[in-house]
């Protein structure tokens, strides 16, 4: 799955400007996670047609990158994420970042790891 990452300045109104742009083109954000630092943030978004949205944002001067991420369905009960994290740790895979969301009653986590291919195989194998 492609994730769209966007550089957002850490200042008053910057998220408003950004979301207004999406609104104008009727773009729906399915999932959003924002990592913040002192002077900037990285908005990580899951949208339909990420390539098209990336082009649109680039045209408006935003710095944008598309990244492959994994979306894992987690069972909606305690310990589900722990199971994923434990499995990855056992295989020496570090998690770069992770965020979760619930879609239609189904809990899911978005993952970026140090070795995406291996992660994909392990998760497939384990049926996570």
């Amino acid at each position: 799955m492609k994730q769209l990452s966007v550089f957002i300045e850490n200042r008053l109104g910057s998220l408003q400007e950004f979301t207004e742009l999406l609104l104008k083109d009727n773009i729906n954000i399915l999932v959003l996670s924002l990592a913040e630092s002192e002077d900037y943030g990285i908005a990580r978004l899951i949208v339909k047609e990420p390539e098209a949205v990336a082009e649109l944002l680039k045209g408006k001067g935003y710095s944008v990158t598309l990244t492959d991420v994994l979306c894992v369905e987690a069972k909606d009960h305690p310990g589900a994420l722990n199971e994923v994290a434990k499995t990855l740790a056992e295989h020496d895979i570090t998690i770069t970042y992770v965020y979760g969301f619930v879609d239609d009653g189904q809990a899911r986590v978005v993952l970026k790891t140090s070795d995406m291919e291996k992660t994909f195989e392990i998760i497939k194998e384990k049926g996570l």
């Binding site: 550089f7 300045e9 630092s37 900037y40 001067g61 990158t65």
Partner: protein, 423 residues
């Protein structure tokens, strides 16, 4: 000394100096030949206007010792201008020059009201920078007691002010402000200290800063001016009237020129300050363009001194910034950014003063190619830029990543500096 006597002294010394640079410095000989000036054409100080200018660029082009007028064996000390660790401007002193340096600082100290009984705490940095050693030698020359503590280490500074009973403090004005606040925070009243005079320079400061320093430290704050190219501190200094800085014009002849036409202006006009060092041996400079903007006052002072006074400098004719006493040129930062492939030559410098210390923030645009979805990667990029810039300009900076194309593009001279210090 009357103006006539000064004119005579300056004229004799200039004639001697022109003879020396013509014979000993190829750079000046070639310049004078190109301009068709012969040694004999210079008959008095009034002929100064026919001589060529010298710029900081010239010093850099002849780095490190190219403009020295004496064999290197005669040079007993070098200093280098603060700022660049790349190509800085190097200045040299013969034994006689070091004596002259001590002499003009000693005069400055007397001018500021110092005498033999004083204890002078020198909180300027010691090293390649001329401030520390300059004040040190001058204070020794008047027979005062020198406390060579150098810059920083505020708690020690305060302790020695208390224990030694230092009566004179020499440092940058911003450090004096900082020290004043630190003293208040430590619960010490200014009256408890023996401090009575401060000699502050190496960076521009306002009269508001002066009042604040005088109040917080309970002293008289005196402005001292100098630049390493000319000799260091002691080129000029205020007297107790605090109404203009008396120039040691029997050694350093000041002129004011129009910064665009380079024509000399009469003293009371504001323009670029130019100095000719008529007695210096190792690095005599003809008409050195300081880029500082000020004006001159030839009226005699209430203190009785007759030498010309320069007003506090009001600005600069180039874009040089003085940050914590260090000279910083935006072009140096630009060339670092151009060398790093991750950054674009679009940047903004934001200078501010927080807790009485200057800060420099460099805003750098993040382009698409180097943008990452990981904070770690972007933080590593910031560190890389920070190291690269700091290794060239020699002071601490903070890097701020800003969005692509947020820094205004300009066809002409771009506005690249925001100075919030209100100097």
């Amino acid at each position: 000394m009357s103006r006539d006597e000064m004119h005579h002294v300056q004229s004799q010394r200039l004639i001697d100096m022109v003879d020396r640079v013509y014979h000993n410095v190829a750079f000046y000989r070639e310049k004078m030949q190109k301009m068709n000036i012969e040694i004999g054409d210079i008959k008095s100080i009034d002929d100064l206007k026919y001589l060529p200018f010298t710029t900081k660029e010239d010093l850099r082009d002849n780095y490190p010792f190219g403009l020295f007028a004496v064999p290197k064996s005669e040079v007993v000390r070098v200093h280098a201008s603060s700022g660049t660790t790349g190509k800085s401007t190097v200045v040299g002193y013969t034994r006689k020059d070091v004596r002259l340096f001590s002499e003009v600082v000693a005069r400055s100290l007397y001018c500021a009201g110092a005498h033999k009984e004083d204890i002078v705490q020198v909180a300027y940095g010691y090293g390649l920078f001329t401030g520390g050693l300059g004040l040190h030698y001058g204070a020794e020359k008047i027979g005062a007691t020198v406390v060579p503590i150098s810059g920083g280490n505020t708690s020690k500074q305060i302790q020695l002010l208390q224990d030694f009973g230092s009566t004179i403090l020499a440092c940058t004005p911003s450090y004096a402000l900082y020290l004043g606040e630190a003293i208040q925070e430590a619960g010490i009243q200014p009256e408890e200290l023996a401090l009575r005079v401060g000699i502050f320079g190496a960076e521009p400061w306002t009269n508001e800063m002066r009042r604040q320093i005088e109040k917080s430290l309970g002293i008289k704050a005196i402005d001292i001016f100098g630049l390493s190219e000319i000799i260091g501190p002691g080129v000029s200094c205020e007297c107790e009237q605090q109404n203009g800085l008396h120039v040691a014009e029997d050694h350093f002849v000041p002129e004011i020129i129009d910064q665009n036409t380079l024509e000399p202006l009469s003293g009371n006009n504001t323009g670029e300050l130019v100095f000719t060092t008529i007695t210096k041996e190792a690095l005599p400079l003809l008409r050195y363009r300081t880029r500082d903007l000020t004006s001159l006052n030839y009226d005699s002072c209430e203190c009785g001194r007759t030498n010309v006074r320069m007003h506090k400098c009001t600005g600069r004719s180039d874009d040089m910034l003085i940050i914590r006493g260090v000279n910083v040129f935006p072009s140096q930062i630009e060339s670092v950014l151009l060398e790093l492939e991750e950054t674009q030559p679009h940047y903004m410098l934001v200078v501010d003063r927080k807790d009485y210390l200057d800060t420099l923030e460099i805003q750098v645009e993040i382009g698409n190619e180097y943008f990452s979805d990981e904070i770690n990667v972007l933080e590593a990029l910031k560190r890389k830029v920070k190291h690269a810039v700091e290794s060239v300009i020699g002071i601490n900076v903070t890097i701020k990543l800003v969005a692509h194309k947020t820094i205004a593009r300009s066809e002409g001279k771009a506005q690249r500096i925001i100075d919030n210090r209100k100097l």
